[in-house]
Symmetry: C2
Subunit: 248 residues, 2 copies
């Protein structure tokens, strides 16, 4: 069967997360149902990253084997027709080889975290950004974040339930910038620990508020202990922006 | 009673529009209910523009007289507390004189119209942008729009139900630009006719698709006849961005 690489955008608000679960509708489950509607088979849709409930995607990638030799644009169109009315869309479908695996072939994942930083709570960005009313010192947050770049034991920013075999990850980039009322953190790595980005954001927010000093972040990292880090930022500010593969 | 000027952001998706109506919840009605919850009076909230159902706002302005002498920030906070969980937020409250009228004192209104121009339907921008799948020629749309700048009889772009005393309006600015997958039209005038922006967008889209030539737009304008214009673009791509007053 031909294998298709799917690039997927979604609003994660009303889903239990990427992964199929018994307690509600998942993004993966919705796409698998669409594949069944299109091809009448029980296809497995393998995603590059298991986003949590409430987390959004601009560029999640998944692969699926389908018993159809339709042009990729037709595959995308058919899946999107079956995905209605969910806020899940296959932005692009591509024919790939059997050796392509959305999760294991990935060489980079990018995330963005959006904070709406103003006195009034979000209206248009409700469920799309974390509301922080106290003015954040974005430059301090950016500087404090730089100690996280490189290969480190990220146990301080790791969820207790994380299934990764090792707490050591290599962060290739992290930056924090202000765009009017928004404070946006962007970061890239080959892979991330469970809750790593949200735990980093929750910690950097303390720096932005002046509750932590900038050099408290390297100390927290060095502690290799989750209790040394700040709280977990809420899921609804997080966006999986892209997943990169060797050939692309 | 002190008069407060309110700057209001909202997602118009699930409302019947700005204006109070019998057939469902309006933005105006929701804010009046919040004023009642805060001050226990039946206050009249007067808006600068009556946005249709589905139209969003980044900067609608309204005024309201309240029997409270609280600092404006407290007024905003109290109204926002009572507006929960609606996606309506008072971004700013200001104390103004009795001669301030949100509608009649306004000297400029600004609108933005967002088109998501890509093959796949919107997911994150569902209900927030008009989906047009065929690639639009944005430069042609921008050039064709320029004939609308200035004082004209806009009958071609006027809804049949429009209550304005005259079809003559002065458009001070209109531009169309691409931002990645989005085509954004921005326009400003002292005031607009009912559906004027949406009818202009529906017409310029025909130019963008190559179905109309650029010089068909001045001809349609000159016809002063609604049947000479293009179709009405859907409400959910429209945003009231700001309302300007003499002192601000």
């Amino acid at each position: 069967m031909p294998r298709y690489k799917l690039t997927i955008e979604y609003d994660g608000t009303n889903f239990v997360g990427w992964q199929r679960q018994d307690n509600g509708l998942s993004i993966q489950g919705a796409i698998e149902s669409a594949a069944k509607g299109y091809c009448q088979i029980d296809a497995l849709v393998q995603g590059a990253g298991r986003t949590d409930s409430g987390v959004h995607s601009l560029g999640q990638v998944a692969h699926v084997d389908l018993p159809r030799h339709d042009p990729p644009d037709i595959v995308a169109k058919a899946l999107n027709a079956h995905l209605r009315p969910h806020p899940i869309v296959v932005v692009k479908a591509e024919l790939v080889g059997d050796d392509f695996h959305a999760r294991f072939s990935a060489i980079e994942r990018g995330y963005e975290y959006r904070i709406q930083n103003r006195r009034a709570r979000p209206a248009l960005e409700m469920n799309r950004a974390w509301w922080v009313s106290a003015r954040l010192d974005v430059d301090a947050m950016h500087r404090a974040a730089q100690c996280l770049v490189g290969r480190h034991d990220f146990s301080t920013f790791r969820a207790a339930v994380c299934q990764s075999s090792s707490p050591v990850k290599t962060l290739t980039e992290i930056s924090v910038a202000r765009h009017e009322d928004f404070v946006v953190l962007t970061t890239k790595a080959r892979s991330f620990l469970h809750h790593q980005v949200r735990n980093i954001v929750g910690t950097l927010k303390l720096v932005g508020e002046g509750k932590w000093r900038e050099d408290d972040v390297p100390k927290a990292l060095a502690a290799c202990d989750r209790t040394a880090g700040g709280p977990t930022a809420p899921s609804h500010g997080l966006y999986l922006t892209h997943v990169r593969y060797p050939d692309a």
